[in-house]
Amino acid sequence: MSEQSVSESDVSVPSVGPPGGSDDTGVVRPPYVPSERRLAREAYRRSRTRRSAIVATASTLAVAAVLFFVITGSPGWPVTKKTFLDPGYARSALSPVLHGFVLNLELLAVCGPTILVLGLLIAAVRTLRGPVFLPLRLLATAYVDFFRGFPLIILLLLIVFGVPALQLQGVTNDPILLGGAALVINYSAYVAEVFRAGIESVHPSQRAAARSIGLTYAQTMRFVVLPQAVRRVVPALVNDMASLQKDTGLVYVGGAIDAVAAAHIQVASSFNYTPLVVAGLGFVILTIPMTRYADWLTRRMDRRRAQGGIV
């Protein structure tokens, strides 16, 4: 919790003292009035906050100014600017690149959740105890070991061109679907390990407490271990999702046109690289809301339950 909000609410809502404060002690305490000391401390803290804000702004501006002059003052700047940052090319590239982005987003929207679910399943299987589950455990381990090591681009090529070559009945030849499948296979191996790390970081006493109130193994995982594990690995998962978002572009090897491929087509016809910069910035813009949302979510979770304090 923020100390600022606590103290402010105190100042505006004068306390009436704890309930029953006067009944049997015989002493009626006067309502609370903030002391001089408190007001002075709060004024001091405010002035510190103000000062650090000023320092932060000034140093940011100074760094930005230095960068600006170093870059724009460099001898090759005019040519570089024309090749990479031309507004005209940027405008004409915008529409095809945005079109390409639709494919990236579709792939992300389908592959992202699939990967998370599959990764969680594999991680759960890997943490199963007992000899009965040995074959399952071995399978999951082998899956992770193999696909985490196998280069994504080779996997994509193998699946996008290899599967159609098999000429199986009822199996798609669509390069986008096959590319998506390759992404899912590769990324779920990574994500499984992230989940496993989270599961194993939950203190064993938590399992003991959960089993002792009668929860089954599965219920213990579902209601006690996973909620704590997932909370801890959210930043790592956001990392993987941001990385996935960029790798969705790799489906172009099968001929699909995503944002990067669209930009490439523009570059090939004009030899101006601005469209690639536009596509790159597009990816950045897509990643930021995802990260901020995850940060907000985890902060909210923490605020509700942590003991808090100031260290």
């Binding site: 919790m1 100390e3 606590v6 103290s7 609410s9 105190d10 809502v13 306390s15 003292g17 704890p18 029953g20 404060g21 049997d24 002690t25 305490r29 609370y32 903030p34 002391s35 000391r37 408190r38 401390r41 001091y44 803290r45 510190r48 203190h203 064993p204 006493s205 808090g308 304090g309 100031i310 260290v311």
Partner: protein, 253 residues
């Protein structure tokens, strides 16, 4: 001020602490004289742990001040790390580091903060562990110790740096009667060595035996304060009497 011999080591002056709308401490004033043991008693949730956490600067007080050797440690300008170096704490939940063995738990602060050599830190740690009957567990990890053993390790971790004042939160909660006696004698020893201590406890017999000063916390203030004989023998407030008679009924005094 710190040169005056009679000045209290720790002084709480109208300390107020709220969590949201809930007022936990509503003007607590208390002097903790040197070489003395102050015991905080009171119902569960009356704010004993909160008061100790405020003194160790783990919580920021809303109003009032806390003085350590004449220095206002609640002033936003003080170096909180330097203040905490002079205070030893045993938490109600022990808070041992599960990734370090007993010896490393105890010597970490010695080596990293107080810059004692490893050999010297381990010698001191083993000496104290031996006193508390834990020498055999020096290389064990906290999760493999019993609750009482963990509690004693936490006690050793707090006293090994010889702090100015010790804040002990429920240090006898998980101990069998024999160990309570043992810890009691450790606390007495510490007192004789000139240590100053503030304890929160529900163990009234322990409180009565060890306390120089007993404080009964209720409704966010210290409702009654006096020597062990005064508070346990002849309590002035109706609330204190009721609390103590409930404790007696429960057979804990």
């Amino acid at each position: 001020m710190s040169t005056v011999a009679t000045a209290p080591v720790l002084r709480f002056e109208s300390v107020r602490k709220t969590f949201g709308e809930q007022v936990i401490l509503d003007g607590v004033s208390l002097d903790v004289p040197e070489h003395s043991v102050t015991v905080l008693i009171g119902a569960s949730g009356s704010g004993k742990s909160t008061l100790l956490r405020c003194a160790n600067l783990l919580e920021e007080v809303d109003d009032g001040a806390i003085w350590l050797d004449g220095e206002d440690v609640t002033d936003p300008r003080v170096d909180a790390d330097a203040v905490r170096r002079r205070i030893g704490v045993v938490f109600q939940a022990y808070n041992l580091f599960p990734h370090l063995n007993v010896l490393d738990n105890i010597t970490l602060g010695q080596r990293r903060v107080h810059k004692v050599t490893r050999a010297e830190a381990e010698r001191r740690a083993l000496e104290l562990l031996d006193r508390l009957g834990l020498a055999a567990k020096a290389k064990e990890y906290p999760d493999r110790l019993s609750g009482g053993q963990q509690q004693r390790v936490a006690l050793v971790r707090a006293i090994v740096s010889e702090p100015r004042v010790l804040l002990l939160d429920e240090i006898t909660a998980a101990l069998d009667p024999e160990l309570v006696t043992e810890v009691l004698s450790v606390v007495r020893d510490l007192k004789e060595q000139g240590r100053t201590m503030v304890l929160a406890t529900h163990e009234m017999a322990f409180a009565r035996d060890v306390a120089d000063q007993v404080c009964f916390l209720a409704d966010g203030v210290i409702l009654e304060r006096g020597t062990s004989a005064q508070v346990f023998g002849d309590p002035q407030h109706e609330r204190t009497r009721r609390f103590l008679s409930r404790v007696r009924e429960a057979g804990r005094l």
